[in-house]
Amino acid sequence: MLDEKAAVLKTIHANPCGIRELVEKLHWKPERVISLLKTMQEEGLIEFLGNHTPNRGRPKKLVVASTLGAEFLETSEECQKKAIQINHNDIKSAVYQANLAKKLEEYHVSLFQRFWELNSIALKIRNSITVENTSKISPDF
């Protein structure tokens, strides 16, 4: 439940939106979103603001994070940072790469030389992509 509330707050924090838009952004069932929003409103985490548009029909209600909601989101993000984010494969790969670096060290290979080689290749690829994209956008240049 806490994660779900944080997900709602994260979605509306920067860009308050209507309930329908929120349902689309979260990819959850509408009933689930509406029920959660009701609870969150009771808890003071969100507010509904009327958004008067020149269009005909019912004015859209915007879901907005309250100050308490913003604090809740901040605390929730801090809590999430307490947990490990990497998965089993990431760890396996990190251990493998560290052992590979160890081996290079044992063979007196300069790790920084390897690093510069690798980085210069990566930068060349990055720059070539940038040039390619630029030429696609402005073929006259």
Partner: protein, 163 residues
């Protein structure tokens, strides 16, 4: 003093990085102004004005097309005597030596980042594995406690051991 991905080949795995992170400690605004002037003369783009309170100053090296981040208050780093004792002089290239953060402070800096990503944790694991018997345990634990990172450090260690 260098921090971040550029230091990694010295302690952990080798991976690419697109920016350069440097930690500095400057006590008066005049010195910082002077640093800004010198950097601008050397074709660095600095969009901000000198400010001693800024946690990080963002620069752009126009010549090499590289972002540079100058940290005045890097996460998980306390500028003290021990930090300076732990730093190392790295041979970045021929005739190019640079001071770099020590391995223990490197780990804590990575873990304490407010915007810690998966990559930071991968970097830490690689340092823990490669520097296994070379880390100053007491110092590492003390720094981890100082920044409330001991639980995370131990959890990562356990994971690395069981993988």
């Amino acid at each position: 003093m260098l921090i971040g991905g550029l230091v990694l080949p010295a302690y952990g795995q080798i991976r690419t990085t697109q920016d350069i992170d440097i930690a500095i400690t400057i006590k008066n605004i005049e010195t910082l102004r002077h640093v800004f002037e010198e950097l601008r003369k050397k074709n660095f783009e600095i969009p901000t004005t000198p400010n001693l309170d800024a946690a990080c100053i963002y620069l752009f090296d126009r010549e090499n097309v590289v972002d540079v981040e100058i940290w005045q208050r890097p996460d998980g780093v306390t500028f003290d005597k021990q930090l300076l004792q732990k730093r190392t002089r790295l041979p970045l290239a021929e005739n190019l030596l640079a001071w770099a953060i020590g391995p223990e402070d490197f780990i804590i800096n990575k873990l304490a980042r407010k915007d810690r990503r998966v990559q930071d944790e991968i970097d830490v694991i690689s340092v823990l594995v490669r520097q296994k018997d070379r880390l100053d345990e007491n110092y590492l634990v003390r720094r981890a406690k100082e920044f409330e990172m001991l639980g995370l450090l131990e959890a990562l260690r356990k994971k690395a051991k069981t993988t």
